[in-house]
């Protein structure tokens, strides 16, 4: 009976462990579940940016047109096994590309709707000096599209997750694909067999 009671008391102690919070650097890599996380998003964005800026499509365009190319973000489809917020790494890419000074970004179709509404409102309510007219938008020269795919191989509690991110830059003038970016990530996820 003593053993029986000791076991119950030990269980109570184990069950009573509480929550702990530790603040950390945003660049620190922590893999908890094995799912796509901020580190994956950052790594993909960094690799894609380095690649897209090192390719000849920019210099070719500038020498031909005499100005920096305007790019619009189209759809980036999530075809993976996880609900991935693709907006975070698209935003990372947009920021780095704009900050490089070599590319201009124009608002996406959803953003444009809101801006046009605001412009209509300005037309009615803003002073003539500050009002922005319709019909002066910059048309995009290229559209960035892409997809995230995964292959998951499962054996019991072990999984190999293979992510492949493909981005394509397409010329709006003639549908030419001027850049193809690809990043692959492979993870071995071993799920716990025992918990406390």
């Amino acid at each position: 009976m003593r053993i029986y009671l000791a076991v119950i008391l030990s269980s109570l102690l184990i069950a009573g462990c509480g929550t702990q919070v530790t603040r950390m650097d945003v660049n620190e890599t922590i893999d908890l579940s094995g799912n796509w996380n901020d580190t994956d998003s950052r790594l993909v964005a960094e690799e894609m940016i380095t690649d897209v800026l090192s390719r000849p499509w920019i210099s070719n365009f500038v020498s031909k047109k005499g100005h920096a190319p305007a790019v619009i973000v189209g759809s980036v489809r999530n075809l993976s096994h996880e609900h991935i917020n693709v907006n975070t790494f698209v935003a990372d890419m947009e920021r780095a590309l704009i900050n490089s000074g070599r590319v201009e970004f124009v608002a996406s179709s959803t953003e444009r709707g809101e801006i046009r509404e605001e412009r209509k409102d300005q037309d009615l309510n803003s002073s003539e000096k500050t009002r922005n007219e319709a019909g002066k938008e910059v048309g995009a020269d290229f559209m960035l599209k892409g997809q995230i795919n995964t292959i998951v191989d499962v054996d019991g509690k072990e999984q190999v997750r293979y992510y492949q991110v493909d981005l394509t830059l397409i010329s709006m003038a003639d549908n030419r694909k001027v850049w193809l970016g690809q990043k692959k990530i492979k993870k071995l996820v071993e799920n716990a067999k025992v918990r406390y």
Binding site: M1, Y4, V7, I8, S10, S11, I14, A15, R77, N78, L79, S80, H81, E82, H83, T150, V152, V154, G156, K157, Q159, N191, A192, K193, V194, R195, Y196
Partner: protein, 402 residues
């Protein structure tokens, strides 16, 4: 006590309706251990009353809990072997883990979010791969593969759709369930569209059907119908002679009573023609199959626990008869079977797929529509694929265009 209330609510769901059942369920104070079961039922009730986005938030939480609980808990195992199994966290049966993804896919389809529905379909496939065994089809669901096929087909991924429809066919054949016409239709049409001539010929001969070509002024309707409410588990007492104790001990184990569910196909009328849904998944059978698969483990643990408790009573009796009496009482009061399950699931999942001429059609089932702002009809345009989701428990029709 809590579980008895949840079981009563599940049993009365069709009479009370999803709205009132949800309110009553939210009144019950579920413990952390029962949180996943609570979220599964809440998510399901929200789904069948059309709150698809909210439903998926609850189901996502349930999914995260169930995933975390797949590892064996040391402390909970101790509770289960010393007191009873209801003191462990509810981690869902094999079929329930797959059905969770299936319901989430349907909810995303109803929100017209094909990519998110595709994510759930892929996750269901991973879970089914984890559960796959050579000994039988446990944890393999034809309805999940069918929904996967539908999601791929709606997204134009015909190769993947064909693979999923084939898997659905294979599982139904293994389980000895007649293939619904909707699945035959998909297998025939896709094998033709993909140029799989040998497959087409095989299906054509086996089903005695030909592929259908969509006439220019028509749309396709796909009906997913949830019928009935799956039976809840009950507690059953077993008396077992234990030679080491030289006495009979009484074990409380979970069981499914005989089902009184009678299949009720949904008969829908479009343009003067009747279309009847057919069974794609028998959840009554799956629930019993899951319990049977786990019964040996449940029985062994229950027997070990009862032997330990009987030993303890014997020792207490030897020290003091009052203490022995007290221990015996405690043993009896603490012994109960784990009768938790996702018990608001339907008894069967049924499907139907057919062509209708373009035009306006009344929603086939809309008994509980109370607000005048709610739509009572929908428009079928040329080339549309319209997915209808209907549950006998909510008696409402929800639809989405593709």
């Amino acid at each position: 006590m809590h579980q008895t209330e949840v079981n009563s609510l599940a049993e009365g769901l069709e009479g009370l309706g999803a709205e009132k059942t949800l309110l009553a369920l939210q009144e019950i104070d579920a413990s952390d251990r029962d949180r996943a079961q609570y979220l599964l039922n809440v998510g399901l009730l929200k789904s069948i009353r059309g709150n698809f986005s909210d439903a998926n938030k609850d189901l996502q939480l349930a999914k995260e809990i169930l995933n975390a609980l797949q590892a064996v808990s040391v402390s909970e195992s101790v509770w289960a072997t010393t007191i009873n199994e209801t003191l462990t966290s509810y981690d869902g049966s094999a079929s329930e883990r797959v059905l969770l993804h299936e319901l989430m896919s349907i909810n995303y389809l109803m929100q017209n979010d094909l990519d998110a529905a595709r994510v759930e379909v892929l996750q269901a496939s991973v879970v089914m791969d984890e559960l796959a065994s050579a000994s039988g089809p446990s944890g393999q669901l034809a309805s999940s593969h069918y929904i996967a096929g539908l999601v791929y087909e709606l997204g134009g991924e015909l190769d993947d759709a064909m693979i999923s429809y084939r898997k659905a066919e294979k599982i139904m054949t293994v389980r000895n369930i007649h293939l619904p016409a909707a699945l035959k239709y998909s297998l025939l049409n896709l094998s033709r569209d993909l140029g799989l001539d040998a497959d087409y010929k095989k299906y054509n001969q086996r089903f005695n059907m030909v592929a259908t070509t969509l006439p220019p002024d028509s749309a396709e309707i796909i009906v997913i119908y949830w019928d009935g409410i799956v039976t809840s588990k009950r507690e059953k007492s077993l008396s077992v002679w234990v030679p080491s104790l030289e006495q009979v001990v009484s074990l409380a184990v979970p069981t499914y009573p005989e089902s009184d569910y009678v299949k009720r196909p949904l008969n829908v009328n479009f343009d003067g023609k009747h279309y009847i849904t057919q069974t794609l998944e028998d959840i009554e059978a799956l629930a019993r199959e899951d319990l049977a698969d786990n019964f040996a483990q449940i029985y062994t643990m229950t027997l070990a626990r009862m032997v330990a408790k009987a030993e303890m009573v014997k020792q207490a009796n030897g020290q003091n008869s009052s203490l022995g009496l007290l221990m015996n009482l405690a043993t009896l009061l603490t012994e109960s079977a784990d009768i938790r399950s996702w018990n608001m699931l339907p008894s069967t999942i049924q499907v139907s797929r057919f062509l209708v001429p373009t035009g306006k059609y009344p929603l086939p089932v809309n008994n509980f529509v109370t607000s005048t702002s709610e739509k009572t009809e929908f428009t079928a345009r040329a080339g549309d694929k319209i997915v209808l989701f209907i549950s006998s428990a909510s008696r409402r029709t929800f639809y989405s265009y593709f």
